[in-house]
Assembly symmetry: C2
Homo-oligomer: 195 residues x 2
DNA sequence: TAATTACGATACGTTTCGTTTCGAAATGAG
DNA sequence: CTCATTTCGAAACGAAACGTATCGTAATTA
């Protein structure tokens, strides 16, 4: 084990938090294009050197800020698959219908696909929101409300993917009615008799 | 009318074509992140001033370079909704499971939503491919194969959205099995009895 | 108290941006 | 043909952001 106490001044969590808060604010107020390391330094009062000590570039700083700032979409307490899934989709749409969804898409597009931070970002923003939906479905199957689902991943893609698709393409609005339709159709797939 | 002949040296279509070809090559070889105006100028031999005369920034240059190569997904000749829709989804996945497809998605994510070029790009990439799917569904309904669909837009989102979602999020592969599942589930929604 | 480590501030050279300037090339008008 | 006009490619420019390095200071352990 390496449990020797470090010797000098400890790294400042306060500095990191100030930096992430400033980065998130810049993302929401001015957008990804304006998120520069220098802007975060100026707004947060944290030195550039410290920023580069903690993150390799502005894009990773953006991902770190979004990881903290993205609400964990987790609706609970509903009874029945359809109600639970509808609540889940409502929460997802509400969380991403703002500028946040667009900034997440831009950040993902700009991120280095190989980067470790990108993997963490995907896990947090994409995969973890899927888990809530996956659990709703598995619980409904355990209750016998639906037959055992065949391909949950594709089903989750069909529920979550359209939200990002509308963010990306902008051909239709993201609203509560849309969320409800997605949940309805997902339930239709899950309850349909299989050949 | 304003059909007076222009007086000086005519704008060079050759320069534009060289620039677009260079931009396209850079996109395919190095990705959207490396597409800078200076890189296009260096590779094409076209002056930066000429590039800025024709496009406002690197992103619009990327859209212009990609828009001509966007695959028009249009599968035809199949009989029955399920076969036709499966062929359509196979074609879509095949077209976008390429380097070009990924760059198209990245460019869409990075584009300024207000820009005129972005509108044209979206029309080409998003709307035109949706029309093929929409027609398949409407024809099936006309044949009486399915009841009149309620909300084709959301259904198309659930078929097409997951493809772009997987490109952007990269959590699962784009392959033929995925395309088939999307088509199957879409047909399930379309044929399900309604309350 | 001394050694160590991170901090904020600041300066630096580099890169990319988008603009501007320049002489050469290409066209229509006279 | 000659001139005016317009675009061309090349190059230089200032501004902005990059990523690095240096500095004196603050915080912590030995």
């Amino acid at each position: 084990m390496n449990d020797a106490k470090p010797r000098g001044r400890p790294p400042s969590t306060a500095a990191r938090e100030k930096a992430l808060a400033a980065a998130h604010a810049i993302l929401m107020e001015e957008g990804f294009g304006r998120l520069t390391v220098e802007a975060v330094a100026a707004r947060s009062g944290v030195g550039k050197a410290t920023l580069y000590r903690n993150w390799t570039n502005a894009c990773e700083l953006a991902m770190a800020a979004l990881i903290d700032g993205v609400p964990l979409v987790q609706a609970g307490g509903e009874t029945g698959l359809k109600a639970a899934l509808t609540a889940q989709m409502q929460a997802l749409v509400k969380a991403f219908a703002t500028t946040r969804g667009r900034q997440i898409a831009m950040t993902l597009a700009a991120a280095d696909p190989e980067s470790e931070m990108t993997r963490a970002f995907r896990n947090r923003v994409i995969l973890s929101s899927r888990e809530a939906g996956r659990n709703l479905i598995l619980e409904a199957a355990r209750r016998g409300e639906i037959p055992p689902p065949l391909d949950i991943d594709t089903l989750l893609d069909m529920a979550y993917g359209p939200v990002f698709y509308r963010i990306l393409a902008g051909h239709q609005p993201l609203n509560a009615a849309f969320a409800e339709r997605l949940a309805e159709n997902a339930v239709t797939i899950l309850t349909a008799p299989r050949p």
